[in-house]
Structure formats: C-alpha cells, structure tokens
C-alpha cells in the first residue's frame, strides 16, 4: 500500500506540472461512458477552436493557449478529481466548462472559493444568472428555464396563443439536470393553463419502456424532453415506436444533435429541438478550421464531428471564452491574464453582430451583453427541426426571448435562497 501511495505521489507530481504556458484552458470532457456520444463532439469543437486560434493567430493577443484535457466520464467524483488536478495547471486555469450539471453543482462552491470562473453555457444552476449572488458563475447566453419557456412559447404559437386544457408531458433525466425545468414549467402551467405530466427516466436512460407506455396511454398533446447521452436516442426511438407525432416532440438543446436522431431512421423526421446558436458549417470560420486545424492533422478526437450541432456548440463555447479573454486583455492592458481578470472579461462581455461577423461566424448566435447583475444573457433561443432526408437540423423560427415575467421572479427566489443558505452578500450595489 505504501509503495502504491508513493508511486501515486510521483505520478501526481508529474501530472501537476504540464508544459508552462500563458493562457490555460481546461477541457473537462467525456469521451467514454453513456454520455460520450454527446460529449465527444462538444469537446472536439471546444478544442478545435482554440487550436485554430493558436495555429492561425498565435493564440489570443499574442499569448499561446495551453489546452489541458481531463476525462470526467460525466461522473461527479472524477469531475472533482479533474478540477483539483487541473486548476493549478500552467499559470492557473482561466475558466471551467464542465458540461455537466452535476459537476457544476460540485464546482460552484469550490470555484467560488478558489476564484476561478465557471461558464455553464445553457446548463448548470439556472439561478446563477443572478450575478449579484453568483460572482464566479456565468450561464450566458441562455439557461434551462429559458429553454422551458422557449418550448412553451413555441407551442403557444402553434396554437394561436391558447393552450389551456392542453396536456404536456415532460420526459426528464432523473437528476439535477432534468429536474431544473420543472419549476418553470409549473409556473408557466399556472399562467397558460395546460396540464403537466412529469415522467422521470433514471440514469443512464436506456430503459424507458414504462414512460413511453404511459405516453401512449395518456396521449399528451406535446412531449418536452430533458435528456442527455444515450437517453436521447432511446427516447426518440421509443417515440417512433409508439408513433408519437414527431412535430409535437420538443427536446431541449441538449437533446437535439444528429447522434440522437440518426439511430431512429427516417421516422424521426420532424423532431424538434431548441437551440441558442445556429446550425450547420456554412460559415467562414469553418474554412479556417479546415486549413489550419484539419489539414495540419491537429483536429481533436477523430475529426469526424465538424459541423454537427454539438461541435458547433462546443466551438461557440470556446469562441465566447476567447472573446471574454480578449475583453479581459483590453480591460486590464495585459495579455497574460489570470482567472480573476478573466472573470472581469466575462462580466463585461458583449456579443454584437459585428463581432461575430469579424470572427467568421455571422448571425451564429443571438446578440447579448453580460453585466454585473445579469450573468445569463437575454435568454434568446430558437427552434430547430430534424430533416431526416437531408440529414440535418434546420432552424424553423427566428430567435425569440423567453418569458422574463415568469422567469425573473423564479431566478430571484432561487438565488436568494442560495445566498441566504450560504451567507452571501449582494454585489453590484
């Protein structure tokens, strides 16, 4: 046992001292386990964008980016291990993007104590939108409660603004992630008068027969899904099996990638998913990725995910991080920023159409501005639909805003409860 400890010590020391670099970005990815199908494209996109910046521009503001990858397997214990192992890498990690709501909940107190910003883009703790309470956590450009509201707004539009008496079922991953939208959907049910049925699916989500049997029996008008990993594929397959009308089946943005629908074949045609960024690879930045990353053989993973929905999302996350770094560099007049300066950069981030066009991603995401009070952006999203024949998702709506009248008080309530529990003083006064 002692020798084991000793060798573990040696190995850990080796692990804790990777190549010295200036801007350290940690990619806590998961390329193994039941969530790998969704974890791989996101991680590839996240890494490729930083590789592109290194190859094409020599980093950001002249500072090279040191990319450290750590495999979490979507497991909280491994996530904690990854965080502790990588937070001191190089000159210190600048930002964490855990891509797991469970790990996010672990990291919120830890990262706050260590002073490292977290960017939980479209996941994590929704009430982190309230920057007055959550100094180090950001979830722009949209969060789960925005997503729930987007889905209901879309259903409202299809029914000419009246959905009272309609029944809506929520199929959700039985975890912190899947439970997040329930409160919002209940709040919206009061406002719009629909009936909400809750159907929980346990981790990892391969077994959903009974849930879909219930849907088949009760025939809800709409099904909303909060799924991830293998659960998405199984749910869409089950929906196809019971011949549920796919255009009435709406997944959150984590349930809308090609991997999720392709397995179900042509009959998945018409499945809808939310998104907060654009889809496809028809952007100038992809040409640069092709020349500087793919052709030089530096693409992450197998390099076969480029242009997929989750690849785009990973790249979008990396792009937002890079823009925040640029903002921080401008603000502090130094190119070698630290985590605290990175936080300032994130808090003052403003995404405009000109900026995105200059990057090579025109009209890729909604415009938004982060502020001290608002760490969550403006809550714009759109609906995409799967076209099985073309083999791609297509946007079918413009970006529209979530119901801020309902969400605002909910965010306020939940974040205040957190502040009270943890004795946090309000900022931004």
């Amino acid at each position: 046992m002692k020798t084991k400890l000793l060798s573990a010590a040696v190995a850990a020391v080796m692990a804790a001292a990777p190549a010295l670099a200036d801007l350290t970005i940690v990619d806590t990815s998961y390329r193994t386990g039941p969530y790998a199908a969704n974890g791989i494209p996101f991680s590839d996109g996240y890494q490729d964008y930083f590789t592109l910046l290194n190859e094409r521009d020599g980093g950001i503001g002249g500072e090279a980016i040191n990319l450290v990858e750590c495999e979490t397997g979507y497991n909280t214990e491994k996530g904690v291990e990854c965080y502790e192992a990588t937070k001191g890498a190089g000159n210190g990690a600048l930002v964490y993007q855990p891509l797991s709501t469970g790990i996010t909940y672990q990291l919120i107190p830890k990262a706050t104590a260590d002073g490292i910003p977290l960017h939980t883009m479209g996941y994590g703790r929704t009430s982190a939108k309230n920057g007055k309470v959550f100094e180090w956590v950001f979830n722009y450009p949209a969060n789960y409660w925005d997503g729930a509201s987007h889905a209901i707004t879309h259903i409202l539009e299809q029914n000419d603004g009246d959905i009272s008496g309609k029944s809506i079922a929520l199929v959700y991953h039985n975890s912190a992630y899947g439970k997040e939208p329930i409160r919002t959907l209940e709040g919206l049910a009061e406002k719009h008068g629909y009936d909400l049925t809750l159907l929980a699916v346990d981790h990892p989500g391969q077994e959903q027969k009974s849930q879909w049997l219930q849907i088949r029996r009760e025939k809800p008008d709409y099904v909303i899904m909060w799924g991830w990993g293998v659960m998405n594929q199984v749910a869409i397959q089950e929906a196809v099996n019971i011949r549920f009308p796919m255009e009435n089946f709406i997944g959150v943005w984590w349930s809308g990638s090609e991997n999720d629908v392709k397995a179900a074949g042509d009959r998945a045609n018409g499945y809808k998913a939310l998104t907060f960024h654009n889809i496809g690879s028809d952007y100038p930045v992809y040409d640069d990725i092709q020349t500087h990353v793919v052709e030089t053989g530096k693409a992450a993973g197998a390099g076969d995910q480029i242009g997929s929905v989750l690849y785009n999302r990973g790249m979008y996350a990396a792009m937002l991080a890079a823009e925040a770094i640029k903002t921080a560099q401008d603000m502090h007049g130094t190119s070698a920023i630290n985590a605290a300066q990175m936080r300032d950069g994130m808090e003052n981030l403003e995404m405009t159409e000109e900026k995105m066009a200059a990057i090579g991603l025109p009209n890729f995401g909604p415009e938004f501005k982060v502020s001290c009070e608002n760490h969550g952006g403006n809550g714009f999203g759109a609906v995409s639909q799967w076209d099985a024949e073309a083999g791609e998702f297509k946007l079918i709506t413009e970006y529209f805003q979530s119901d801020q009248d309902v969400l605002g008080p909910l965010v306020e309530e939940d974040s205040m409860a957190f502040a009270e529990e943890n004795g946090i003083e309000m900022r931004c006064n």
């Binding site: 390329r31 291990e81 192992a85 706050t112 529990e421």
Partner: protein
Amino acid sequence: MFYREAGDFKTSYTEDSQTFPIKFDRYRYYAVLVAAFAVVPFFINDYWVNAVFLPFLIYSIAAIGLNILVGYCGQVSLGTGGFMAVGAYACYKLMTSFPDVNIFFHVIFAGGITAGVCVLFGLPSLRIKGFYLAVATLAAQFFLVWMFNRVSWFYNYSASGQISAPERTVFGAPVTGAETAPWAAYLFCLVFTVACALLARNLTRGMAGRKWMAIRDMDIAAEIIGVNPLRAKLTAFMVSGFFVGISGALFFAVYLGAVEVGEAFGINKSFLVLFMVIIGGLGSIFGSFAGAAFLVLLPVLLKNVLVGGLGWPTDLAAHLEFMIVGGMIIIFLIAEPHGLAQLWRVAKEKLRLWPFPH
C-alpha cells in the same frame, strides 16, 4: 528476521490478546498512525485530499462496514449504495435542522439512523440466505434511491433535487463547505476511519464477532451451540449499517459537498464497495483498507501515468484504465482467491522465517 517472536514474552492476558501481538507489527502500526496524524496533514494539498485521501478513507469505512456483514457474518448485501445514501441524507437533514449541533455528532447520528434502516432491511435475512438475500438487499438499494429522489422533504424541496452541505466547523476550523482547508477535511475523516477500524477490529475479536463468524460458517450448528441467529444477524446488520452510514455522511458532507442520489449512490456504488471487500479479503479489517486503496488509488494512478506521464489521449487512457483494473482484479483473484489480506498474511509468514526458511 522481521516479525520475530523470539524473545517477545507475554506475561499477562492483556498483552497476550492485544491486536498486534508481534512487536514489529505493533510498532509499524504506531508508525503508520503517527505518520497519518502528525506528518501527512502538513504536506497535503487540495489535489491529494480530494483525489486520494478522502476517497480512500471514506471508502475504507464503507468497506469495513460491508466486510462485517459479508465477510464476518456471511450475509451478502447489495444495498450499500442505498445505505450510504441514508447516511448522507440523514446527515443533510440533521445539518440543516440543527445547525448549532456540531457536525461530528451529526455524522454519528447519521450512522445511527442508517443502522436502524439497515436492521429493517436485514429482517428478511432471518428467512432467506445467499443469493436470495442479495436480491432482497438489492430491493433496498433501489427503493432507497427512489425514495430520496421522490420525496422532496429529504432534499428540503430544492429545485434541482440536489443536497449540498452548508459550512460547519469543528473547533473553529471548517470541515464542510468550500472554505475547508485540506488538512481539516483529512483529519476529520481520519479520526472517523481510525475510530471505526478500532471499533470493528475489537468487535470482531470479541463475542459479537465470534457469533457472526459462527453464523457465517454454519448457521444451524451455530444455533445448536446457543447462538441466537436473530440477534447475531441483526447486530451484524446494525453495526454494518452504522459504519456504512458514517461513510455515506462523510462522502456527502466532506468529500463531495453536493450530491445527487441516483448518480452518487446508485447500484454502481454497491458493487464498488462489494468488490473492495472481495478483492481486499473477506473477514479482514486490513483487507477493507487494501481493497479500498486498490480500487480508489489504482485508477487515479493509472490516469496520472497514462495521461500526465505518457501524454496519451484521455479517452484511450480511460478505456485502458478499465481494462487494466479489470485485468488486475482477475489476476489477483486467480493468484489469491482470499484477497489482498491473504497475500499480506502469507508475506508476513514468509518474513517471519526469512532469510532462514528451514
């Protein structure tokens, strides 16, 4: 050479029946304790505590608890994850309901509550044995996880269903929450681990342990010689539940800080702890530690060597890690079916005579 008994005379019953009768063994044990309490706390950082020491110490307690049930009393249990969840949720409810009481007592009470729950689910053991009992405890696993997911009172009606540990202090030093210093979390868990190991060791050496072992070896014979199977089995479930509950409480409050029942205390956890007990050695306290060390430290070590040392891709390393750990489990069990503890025993026997075996 080592482990010499020559000249090591025992002149009283107390000396003769001490835990480590061989002098060398005893001093080694003291040295480990001194190192653990007085040396390690000065050298550990966040990484060492969170990736190595806390999981090792906490899983050791769980393995000791399960070892009492499976190894000493012969009652197979697959409900460890569920019982750890009871400890965690009991600790959470106590922490939030009585914030003024010291966390130390909350952890002990959490163990007590788990002991009660464990006895309840141990009742079927009076009628069913072996694999059938394993299935009954499996039901406990699924029922408990379902209950903690379903009944929102257990997680204080939070929106996400997560429980998160508020900051609590011992002698002014925080041991839960984000501000915890590495040494504080480490020492807090170490105290529990050492106390549990001592308690378990002495229980198993005494009358209670002999009754458990009698039931394990042949329950009808045990009944004939006067062991009450009801009491023996239920005490085993109770003591086991107490330890497992403590480990669950520490796992939640000190190690992770925020927990989601399905993910943290799922069936995988039950199997993990059962494997620790089997690989470490059934019916051995040292085996519990060895098993926990093997299954907690080996993956971390492999990851650091493969990714940190050799720079391999993380997914390849993660897959290889499964294969290597799995392979080593098979090799160990073929080479020594009685676990790491038996290897250690054999090594000690050899060292006693070394270098003159004849």
